[in-house]
């Protein structure tokens, strides 16, 4: 007990974050055993894990690196499709589902890393709103390319084609009789094995938290924070701006890729259009409402805001309208000086950027 008292405030918050996630997982698992989780709730568990990972990883780019990214769903898309391809191709080689899921997630993360290098090298040279619009552009480009992707698998291995002319279909691949389609262009992935599990989601969330929190508390993390707070000052004390920006950006993309794989392997059908601009925005809303740079905030915001439209079911058609109004009101309430000072009196202010 004495040991806990000596920990710094940020450390305590970090441990509390881990503990909170573990407790939530334990509670949900127990409730599942007792059959007290509704069907619709059960279907949301894995997507919630995916969005928590997405929000925490985007917080690394937006909150901690301080660069607005509007294309985070693009990396999720890359991860989802490469992960699905990996999982389906390894069907015979790796019969064990958890192992196949793990390998697929690594593949998804790796492809997202490659994509983030391609995107990051030009993007991170730009600043502010220009950077935002270019990430948006990359997100859209990735979406369109995925929309053209046609992949099949047979005894000879993977067959990949790009439907650029609009006339290529799965039949153009010339699969032999043992072959099956994995991704069918605009229809997206079809007939995917649903091998994602809630436990895997929980493990991914924990890995994400460990990676992000340790990165932020490390020497590299302090360099990234320094770049956010004052780029010129950071550069003048010898911090390699490009290197640390890339580090944050690539880590963020890798986690998004793994989350995408988990998401893709949770549905038997998934179209590329799912990962559009609106998905990027959805995750950005989680991050901003959870608090920039505040990791536990992102976790809670992702869970609450993902469940909220579901909880608003009784409003039926009005639920997205209510969601929009809630969003605007929260932004107005938290950013109006009068409300801020009132809240400030009730809660003693903590230093900015505290986890």
């Amino acid at each position: 007990m004495n040991k806990i008292k000596h920990l710094s405030v940020t450390r305590k918050i970090d441990y509390a974050t881990y503990a909170g996630v573990i407790l939530a997982f334990a509670a949900v698992t127990i409730l599942q055993r007792l059959d007290m989780v509704s069907r619709s709730m059960e279907g949301m568990l894995i997507p919630i894990c995916c969005y928590v990972v997405m929000a925490v990883s985007l917080n690394l780019t937006v909150g901690i690196l301080g660069e607005l990214s509007l294309g985070h769903a693009g990396f999720m898309s890359v991860g989802a499709f490469s992960g699905v391809i990996a999982a389906m191709s390894l069907r015979d080689m790796l019969p064990s589902e958890p192992l196949r899921l793990a390998v697929s997630m690594v593949v998804g993360a790796l492809f997202a890393v490659v994509a983030s290098f391609v995107v990051g090298i030009p993007v991170l040279r730009l600043r502010g709103d220009y950077l935002a619009i270019v990430t948006l552009a990359f997100g859209e480009i990735i979406k369109e390319i995925m929309n053209c992707l046609i992949v099949g698998f047979d005894s000879k291995g993977l067959h990949i084609a790009l439907n650029i002319s609009g006339t290529v279909t799965i039949d153009s691949l010339g699969l032999d009789e043992t072959g099956y389609a994995i991704i069918k262009g605009a229809q997206g992935a079809t007939g995917t094995d649903k091998i994602a599990t809630f436990t895997a989601g929980f493990i991914l969330v924990m890995i994400t938290l460990v990676v992000v929190l340790n990165l932020v508390r490390s020497r590299a993390g302090r360099a990234i924070l320094a770049i956010r707070d004052n780029r010129i000052a950071a550069e003048s004390v010898g911090i390699n701006i490009t290197k640390y920006k890339m580090m944050a950006f690539v880590t963020s993309a890798a986690l998004a890729g793994a989350a995408g794989t988990l998401y893709g392997l949770n549905y038997s059908n998934m179209a590329a259009a799912k990962f559009d601009f609106n998905t990027s925005i959805l995750v950005l809303v989680f991050v901003v409402l959870g608090g920039l740079g505040r990791i536990w905030g992102s976790v809670i915001a992702a869970v609450v805001l993902y469940v909220l439209p579901e909880a608003l079911r009784e409003f039926a058609d009005y639920r997205m309208l209510v969601y929009a109004i809630v969003l605007i009101l929260v932004m107005l309430a938290t950013n109006t000086p009068a409300v801020r000072s009132m809240v400030g009196k009730m809660i003693p202010r903590r230093s900015k950027g505290g986890a």
Binding site: R127, V134, A137, N147, S165, M331
Partner: protein
């Protein structure tokens, strides 16, 4: 001949993007915010015009006027209720609020007009035939290009000549100094939103005449593309938005015709990225060196 007709349809589409981009760029120049709800104002403009023509049976040109009035009021209302309290807030908070407004408009439209697409009757119909019928230009195209040109010229002279235009330029340069010179900053910003929204209404009507199906999400993709056009030309610059819009329309049309329909947006955005890498402030944008 084929090339010419693709080029003309590109210019026409580009004119619509240019009108939307003008609204974007004005608002950005003065309020320094990415107004993601702008695309949805276009959609509202389209629906209002649709309703006036279909339910009230009034002529098309009158529906444009009504749409402009409604959208202007809407623009002022949105600005006053959602953006004005956030003048001092960090830009991300304003961005999220704009996204909230965008959701709000889309879902209100969904509740009022339903999800199924409405078939919009173009405000002008018919076409001109040239070169013995080998080149056909629809009147919508001609009207779109002419309107865009008039708006661009009008807006440029308004910004450079009128008192309000001068106030707008002053506010975009330095709000604090503008206020000290006796300019009503809040009113100037509201006026900018009003003009931008009126332009969005015109764009909405033209867009629906161009591709006559109207849905609650009709405005979002053209909105994003027009935003791209504004950045392409140099955000904050009126001639830049005009140029960027037209170029983007031409690129999209030619990419669809000669490269790939599937990848036309990807090509569009790739061009944007390349331009921004060569000219980080856009084609006509001012590059402001950073002072330490």
């Amino acid at each position: 001949m084929e090339f010419l007709s693709y080029l003309i349809s590109g210019i026409s589409l580009g004119s619509i993007y240019a009108i939307i981009a003008l609204g974007y760029t004005m608002v950005y120049g003065i309020a320094k915010m990415l107004n993601f709800a702008h695309g949805d104002v276009i959609m509202v403009g389209g629906y209002i015009s649709f309703c006036v023509v279909t339910y009230l049976g009034l002529p098309g040109w009158l529906s444009v006027v009504v749409a402009m009035l409604v959208c202007t009021a809407l623009g002022i209302l949105i600005e006053g209720l959602a953006y004005k309290p956030l003048r001092q807030a960090p830009s991300l908070a304003v961005l999220i609020t704009a996204i909230g407004v965008s959701y709000f408009l889309q879902n209100s439209a969904l509740l009022i007009w339903g999800a199924s697409p409405k078939v919009y009757t173009p405000i002008v119909s018919g076409q001109i035939e040239m070169f013995g019928g080998s080149l056909k230009i629809s009147w919508v195209t001609v009207v779109t290009v002419v309107i865009c040109f008039i708006i661009a010229v009008g807006l440029t002279s308004f910004i450079s000549k009128s008192r309000m235009g001068k106030a707008m330029r002053a506010c975009s340069e330095d709000k604090g100094a503008a206020q000290l010179m006796g300019i009503n900053v809040n009113r100037t910003i509201s006026t900018t939103f009003a003009i931008g929204s009126a332009l969005a209404a015109v764009a909405g009507v033209l867009l629906c005449s161009f591709s006559p199906s109207l849905m609650p999400t009709t405005g979002s993709m053209p909105g994003i593309k027009a935003f791209t056009a504004a950045v392409f030309g140099g955000i904050g610059s009126i001639p830049g938005a005009f140029l960027g819009g037209i170029l983007l329309g031409i690129i999209e049309s030619l990419a669809k015709a000669y490269i790939s329909t599937q990848l036309s947006n990807a090509i569009l955005f790739a061009v944007l990225i390349i331009v921004l890498l060569v000219r980080p402030a856009g084609l006509l944008g001012k590059y402001v060196p950073e002072k330490v």
